[in-house]
């Protein structure tokens, strides 16, 4: 670990200014940041501790819910409102990490967790995400759990979050206070960037930008499913995961919002996929057509070829269950 300055911020404004204009990182649960700092994959000069700013509230917000950035994954998963109205979020949270990690990991930190690409973790192998322009070791290497959607010639790293996949299906917005004090709000799709030729820039956040919370709108579907396929029964990242929020009316799909984990360089959602399902009567043919839309855009790399047929099967099962 490289020596760094540690600042415990007294309020959000102080946190923002402490982090602005330097190579700084906000520290909340630390479940990902500290590991990466120990390996010097991340080496901030300044660590600004935001865990005591009181940003951990989970509050009713009209028809929706506002979740503070430092609400822990455990608290959020156990919240009775979440369990009742946004169960896909609760299930996604509980499908991730381990009990110990969820007790520390927070909502904002989870959104920002870094990829598990093994070459990103190995400072002796080139990685464009870690050191821009160095090259990508995953391309041509071991690719069993890499992204097949949203990749570029510079990076095929997967976004590993379960929580963020559910948030995407729930049309969540991310609330940010910028270094200059202005408030901004982002749709999830806009919040995350595609790797392109700058895979080290994963979100739209600028130095000093502080995530203060996320806002869940009222649930748009009563049938919510989170299904995760993984290599072992617990404590493994998704090979494929699907978050589905569906509402049926008169035997037809009135609302369809599906998001995917294990497939994309960011928590993935394809508007064409949702559009194709909406207004239609459920059928095996429809589901397969939708899967064609989603997966027709996939580019796999050998080790991750299996994700395409696996995603197709899981999608079909999830949609059958959600539309019964």
């Amino acid at each position: 670990m490289r020596p760094f300055d540690y600042i415990r911020a007294e309020d959000p404004a102080a946190a923002r200014s402490a982090a602005a204009g330097s190579n700084a990182a906000f520290l909340s649960g630390g479940t990902n940041l500290l590991d990466l700092m120990k390996l010097e994959v991340m080496a901030p000069d300044t660590v600004v501790d935001i865990s005591r700013l009181g940003l951990d509230a989970i509050e009713d917000d009209g028809d929706g819910l506002r979740i503070g950035a430092t609400a822990t994954n455990s608290d959020l998963a156990a919240d009775m409102r979440v369990r009742k109205h946004w169960p896909v979020l609760s299930r996604a949270l509980l499908a991730g990490a381990s009990g110990q990690l969820r007790n520390k990991a927070t909502t904002g930190g989870n959104l920002l967790q870094r990829t598990r690409c093994p070459y990103f973790y190995d400072t002796d192998t080139p990685c464009n995400k870690r050191t821009p322009g160095e090259g990508c070791s995953a391309i041509g290497g071991e690719t069993r759990n890499h992204a097949i959607l949203g990749t570029s010639d510079h990076c095929i790293a997967l976004h590993p979050s379960d929580m963020a996949v559910a948030l995407r299906a729930l049309d969540t917005t991310v609330e940010v206070e910028a270094a200059d004090g202005t408030s901004k709000s982002y749709e999830m799709d806009d919040f995350y960037r595609l790797p392109g030729d700058t895979p080290h820039r994963e979100t739209v956040l600028e130095a000093g930008d502080l995530i203060t919370g996320v806002r869940l709108p009222a649930p748009k579907g009563d049938r919510q499913i989170y299904r995760k396929v993984r290599d072992r029964a617990s404590y493994a990242f998704a090979l494929v995961s699907v978050a589905a929020v569906i509402r049926m009316e008169n035997g037809r799909i009135a609302h369809a919002a599906l998001a995917f984990g294990g497939l994309g360089t960011k928590p993935w959602r394809d508007p064409d996929f949702d559009t194709l399902l909406t207004g239609e009567a459920p059928s095996r043919a429809l589901f397969d057509e939708a899967a064609d839309v989603l997966l027709g855009r996939a580019v796999s790399h050998g080790g991750d070829d299996f994700k395409i047929p696996m995603a197709r099967r899981v999608l079909r099962a999830v949609l059958e269950e959600a539309t019964q």
């Binding site: 002796d124 299996f306 696996m310």
Partner: protein, 724 residues
């Protein structure tokens, strides 16, 4: 005086006649409370005054190594030294090597080889400085994939297997593969070294101190008599601590150079690379059988790998030689020399992967022949070792199969696959036989009987297996003392040399040495009682002969008695085939949607002679069966095909079975004594539980959903490929 025994023949079961009644019972570990409360000091826990901290530095590539910024790093605050010493070792020594492994820091034979040690005032400064050291390697990767080289070795051949296959009513010719695996002990490899004059003391995480002392001394070029090793508590070994590892040698060198105690703890990512892995294997298995499933031919040919100059070659087919009858045979391994991290013994070297795949092939044969898999095994049990012609010391496979099948409820099983479904889940059951060779090494132990009780001393280790408990029981049983009057002291080379822990031989070998030491004391007590030792009863501190009964404390008269035992495996282990046996049964559910497999229940019946402690033996079997689940479903150390480096070097990405993967494990021990195994009539139990366990799971997958997975582990994608 020493009571010596070379085990050449059968032993009488004296323990059966003893009165204390604590041999075999499920006693708690005497060290258990200290371990769970954090009071037990593992290698890196107990720091001498003035201790400083070292961090190994890995080679980032192959070939000649140049350090680019040594002076800069040496000048960093807190850094005391950057050490690149030709005595540093390339990889951990192999088990029982007794000499230094390949040494040197100028040439990296594999990526991850330790090529420098940075020492600093704090562990954090050392780690940062180690990460700051920039290294250049100038070599291209040598061969790193098993298929890219001409492998060494020829199989053993008997009869004409090709002809047997051609003539067989049923012939099976299949290829199974298993990946590299890691031992993953909870305690990483670590050492604390300090010198007093020319005397070196090292606290380390080690399994076999007698050998480790010689390995360390040879690495350093010093007299082994000048080295003292301490390993009172070891947090798991599984083979990875059989030989001295890079941390201990580097710590000793640094401590000498700096004149201060030095601690070196390997980072978990380093443990993956510097200690020996289980070799990947590619196994061609051929089975020829008549119309009733009786084997006429067996082929088991494997390709394994290791670094150049390593003596170890994964003995994949070690048990295949004697497992089943069949006159025509081609059995053996070929070794590919690769620039991957070194391979070596990992829990049940040979059988863990060899029995597992062979028992999968036997399941395939049972399907071919159309008979029950249990019945197929029963029809092929040999009456003597088919390869050597030697008799078996005991043979409990048939009992294990029959009792295990009854306890598991095997008889209810539908005979064909895909017969049971619950929702999207296919349900199936599978079984496999278990075999593990039984070995005895050499061990010594000393017991001092004082008015307070007995003190047992040997440099034997307890690597989590329960050695403290069973040696307490053995001494207590023989001397008629309750467990709280026996004090077992281990893990110090100033004590008589035990066998060390490994190959399932530790309990029986060192246990028999303790037993012999106790016999010597029994003889002295009998003498004081004026009776024959065979007429002496010792119980709860009282000596009884005929009508005479006296407290042992009185007989000691304020002094102490010392007994010294020395045991060696002899002809009983050469002229007789000794093995342990068992049978595994598993029930699994396979998702028709995702290919995910969940083990729902597992049963193992095992025959291993006398069980010395029913609780710790059971724990060993639970551990082995859990490893079997990991081998079947999750464990896979991935080598980058371009340069051989291990890609997944942490516990998030190297998937061992976690609690949620492990169902209730039911273990049953056969009541057995093996008179050829030594006076205790106990055989090894530490590894039997893993041998074949994974095959029961793989075979259950087939029974559930009809998919044969021949490339382990059976991850969801591989199962799904069969379901598509």
């Amino acid at each position: 005086m020493t009571l010596d025994l070379k085990v050449d023949g059968q032993s009488e079961d004296r323990a059966e006649t003893y009165a204390q009644g604590i041999l075999g019972t499920p006693e708690d570990r005497p060290d258990g409370h200290a371990k769970v409360s954090g009071a037990a000091t593992y290698a890196a826990d107990d720091l001498p005054e003035g201790c400083v901290f070292g961090m190994l530095v890995r080679a980032p590539g192959h070939g000649g190594v140049t350090v680019l910024n040594e002076d800069e790093v040496r000048g960093t605050a807190g850094v005391l030294a950057v050490i690149r010493d030709p005595r540093m070792i390339r990889n951990a020594a192999q088990g029982t090597a007794n000499a230094a492994p390949v040494q040197g820091v100028d040439q990296a034979d594999y990526i991850g080889q330790p090529v420098a040690l940075v020492v600093a005032e704090t562990a954090e400064a050392a780690q940062h400085a180690a990460q700051s050291l920039r290294l250049r390697t100038d070599g291209e990767a040598g061969p790193v994939n098993p298929d890219d080289v001409e492998a060494e070795g020829e199989p053993d051949t008997m009869g004409d297997l090709d002809a047997a296959m051609a003539d067989a009513a049923h012939a099976l010719d299949v290829v199974y593969t298993t990946p590299s695996m890691t031992s993953a002990p909870m305690e990483p490899h670590a050492a604390v070294a300090w010198w007093e004059g020319d005397r070196l003391t090292v606290r380390s995480a080690l399994q076999m101190l007698k050998y480790n002392r010689n390995e360390l001394a040879d690495s350093l070029g010093i007299d082994p008599e000048h080295v003292r090793l301490l390993a009172p508590f070891v947090g798991g070994g599984f083979g990875s601590k059989l030989g001295i590892s890079a941390d201990a040698v580097a710590a000793a060198i640094a401590a000498q150079e700096l004149g201060r105690p030095v601690r070196v703890v390997q980072h978990r990512r380093q443990v993956f690379e510097t200690v020996t892995r289980r070799s990947e294997t590619r196994q061609r298995i051929r089975l020829a059988a008549d119309d009733r499933g009786r084997l006429t031919g067996i082929g088991h040919e494997s390709l394994v790998s290791n670094l150049p100059d390593e003596a170890f070659s994964e003995p994949v087919s070690q048990a295949t030689y004697f497992a089943y009858a069949g006159a025509h045979r081609v059995i053996g391994e070929r070794l590919a020399r690769l620039n991957r991290p070194a391979s070596g013994s990992v829990r049940a070297p040979g059988e863990a992967v060899g029995v597992t795949t062979f028992e999968c092939a036997m399941d395939e044969l049972a399907s071919e022949v159309g008979i029950d898999p249990v019945e197929l095994r029963l029809r092929n049990i040999p009456d003597k070792d088919p390869h050597s012609g030697l008799p078996f010391s005991s043979h409990t496979l048939a009992r294990s199969l029959n009792e295990g099948a009854a306890r598991f409820g095997w008889a209810d099983r539908p005979s064909s696959p895909r017969a049971r479904r619950e929702g999207e889940w296919w349900i199936g059951t599978g079984m496999a036989a278990a075999f593990r060779v039984n070995m005895m090494l050499e061990a010594e132990a000393r017991i001092t009987l004082t008015p307070d009780g007995a003190v047992v001393e040997t440099d034997m280790t307890d690597i989590g297996t329960g050695t403290y408990a069973i040696l307490t029981q053995i001494a207590g049983e023989a001397l008629g003392l309750p467990v709280d009057r026996v004090d077992v002291r281990l893990g110090d080379t100033t004590y008589p040399p035990g066998s060390g822990s490994g190959g399932s031989f530790g309990a029986a070998t060192t246990g028999n040495a303790v037993w012999l030491a106790a016999q010597e004391i029994r003889q002295a007590i009998a003498q004081r009682m004026n009776c024959a030792e065979s007429d002496l009863t010792l119980k709860d501190g009282t000596a009884i002969c005929g009508n005479t009964s006296r407290a042992v404390v009185e007989l000691l008269d304020g002094a102490s008695l010392e007994g010294h035992g020395h045991v060696t495996g002899g002809k009983a282990f050469q002229d007789v085939r000794q093995s342990t046996f068992g049978a595994h049964f598993a029930e699994v559910a396979v998702s028709d949607v995702t290919g995910e497999v969940r083990v729902r229940r597992m049963h193992g019946t095992f025959g291993a002679g006398r069980i010395l402690n029913e609780k710790t033996a059971r724990s060993q079997c639970h551990g082995g069966m859990t490893w079997g689940i990991g081998m079947a479903l999750t464990e896979n150390m991935v080598h980058d095909r371009r340069d051989g480096h291990i890609v997944n070097r942490d516990f998030a990405e190297y998937h061992m079975a976690v609690n949620a993967d492990v169902p209730p494990l039911d273990v049953h021990f056969l009541d057995e004594r093996d008179p050829w195994a030594g006076p205790l009539q106990a055989k090894g139990i530490g590894e039997l539980g893993i041998c074949g366990a994974g095959a029961a799971v793989i075979n259950a997958i087939h029974h559930a959903c009809g998919v044969r997975v021949r490339d382990l582990p059976a991850t969801p994608d591989r199962v799904l490929a069969g379901l598509e």
